[in-house]
Amino acid sequence: MNPNTGPTLQDFGHDPLWLSIIKALFIFVVLMLGVLFGVWTERKLISRMQHRYGPNRAGKFGLLQSVADGLKMGLKEDITPRTVDKVVYFLAPVIIAVPAFLAFSVMPFGPMVSIFGVKTPLQLTDLPVAVLLVLATASIGVYGIVLAGWGSRSPYAILGGLRSSAQVVSYEIAMGLSFVAVFLAAGTLSTSEIVAKQAGGGTWDVFGLSIPQPSWYAISLLPSFLIYVITMLGETNRVPFDLPEGEGELVGGFHTEYSSSLKFAMFMLGEYINVFTVSGVAITLFLGGWRAPWPISIWEGANTGWWPMLWFFIKLVLVFAFFVWVRASLPRVRYDQLMAFGWKVLIPLNLAWILLYATLKALRLPEVDRAFVLTIGAFVVVGGLAIWFRFDTLLQRRREAKAAQIEEEFEQLREEPEAGGFPVPPLDLPHYHGVLPAAQASTAVKEVTSGSN
């Protein structure tokens, strides 16, 4: 491992109070500016991807667009509908916005630096259970969503809130499970130590050239990383999983009743900060944290002093750009598909991958009897396959029966259109000439305009 692997848990908790306050304020300023210019970046980037200009009126390149929007939201009349539950309605945006900031307290921005003569890590704090804190703050945000839907006393809002919370908790499980392999590999839950563990992974010698082996968990734990990338989109309600705000189905989802006032701005703020948080977690846990990527890391000073903060923010911008790219490319998925994907694919895959990885890791422990582990592994694999085949044939049979039944129903509907039993207008009304019974298909039908009978 490199000598400059950065701070460990022992380096935290020694900051004087003023330094903690400076760091906390720094996090706030960065996040606020990040949201302002993140919104601008997203709008500009996605409009370029869609061959349009995007915001270009307020300020140079439209840079001040978000500032103008924010000012407008702060100064405009705030309408609280008469029927809402006033307390809950007011608390919901606060509950979403405040914990969103907390996750960044354990985000490592860089190694030890000297601020006004005090040696301190570029990270507000670190805990032995830091990643758990990130997950916990994400869970508190769900309360905000549910309460916003509940307090609004509006059908669309409550449906949007329920939908959103079910989605977020489902994807949170898959997200938590995708971290387990990282903890297995790193042996710790502290973010700074996970970054330190990704510092070096040996070298490959190719024709006398020594190329550093990838030490990022994104590469060595690729399945976990892929699952995490999917769940981070689901967790933050972003396209293609932005169902809570499916405007064709739910108007505005859980924040329908929050007219574009400051309370609505709080929801936006929380949402964008959550995007930054999951991006930061992706960087910290999978993409090497603040450490410089390979071509830069040849330079000795790349991972010392204040430079790592630059690498961290470059990575953050790139991950955020990935969010925008996905938004420009993918359509929204259907809700049942979303939940089925989360529970039937992501979670079982994750559990299987954890067991596989743990077994592989156990094989490399010195005191372990390999034959025993391999026997257990083989036993589990055979058992799993047996269960799988059983279910597979069963499902196949069920699917075929269902298809046959549907085909039969279609056949019947073609013969007598009114037999469907669904609460739709009969398909053979005089003004409707879409479906005709097979017997009458040859005779000419006169068109009667709608509403004339």
């Binding site: 706030f28 405040v98 670190d126 919370s165 329908t256 006032s261 039937k344």
Partner: protein, 123 residues
């Protein structure tokens, strides 16, 4: 500011700062914004058409079942995290692995049961 809870104190400071900033923003907003309510403005928006009847809608009981599943798996994750941290430490090894296999098989049985009961199927 040292010791084990020192780190948590910093998190509390951040929470306090967040509350102060959000509360301050809402307060300033309250002082600056106009306030001219009319009966039409104070209707719930819903979909743009005047609302009819009670505000709350009936919804699927399925959401409720998902929260149960969530609790099961959240507890599962809470057990998995410490296990993952100590797994490679000396003195654990195969016994720990087998125990986790057994535990995860029980959890997997839970999700299989939900699957079988068609809880995970939406229609």
């Amino acid at each position: 500011m040292s010791g084990y809870f020192g780190s948590y104190l910093v998190v509390a400071i951040l929470l306090g700062t967040g509350l102060a900033i959000v509360a301050g923003a809402l307060l300033v907003n309250r002082l600056l914004r106009p306030h001219r309510p009319t009966p039409e403005k104070l209707l719930t928006y819903e979909c743009g058409v005047d609302p009819v009847g009670e505000g709350w809608a009936q919804s699927q009981v399925r959401y409720y079942v998902f929260t149960y599943l969530y609790v099961v798996f959240a507890v599962d994750a809470v057990f998995l995290f410490p296990w993952a941290t100590v797994f490679a430490a000396p003195g654990f090894g195969v016994t720990t692995l087998v125990e986790m296999f057994v535990f995860l098989i029980f959890i997997a049985l839970g999700i299989l049961y939900a699957w079988r009961k068609r809880v995970l199927t939406w229609t």
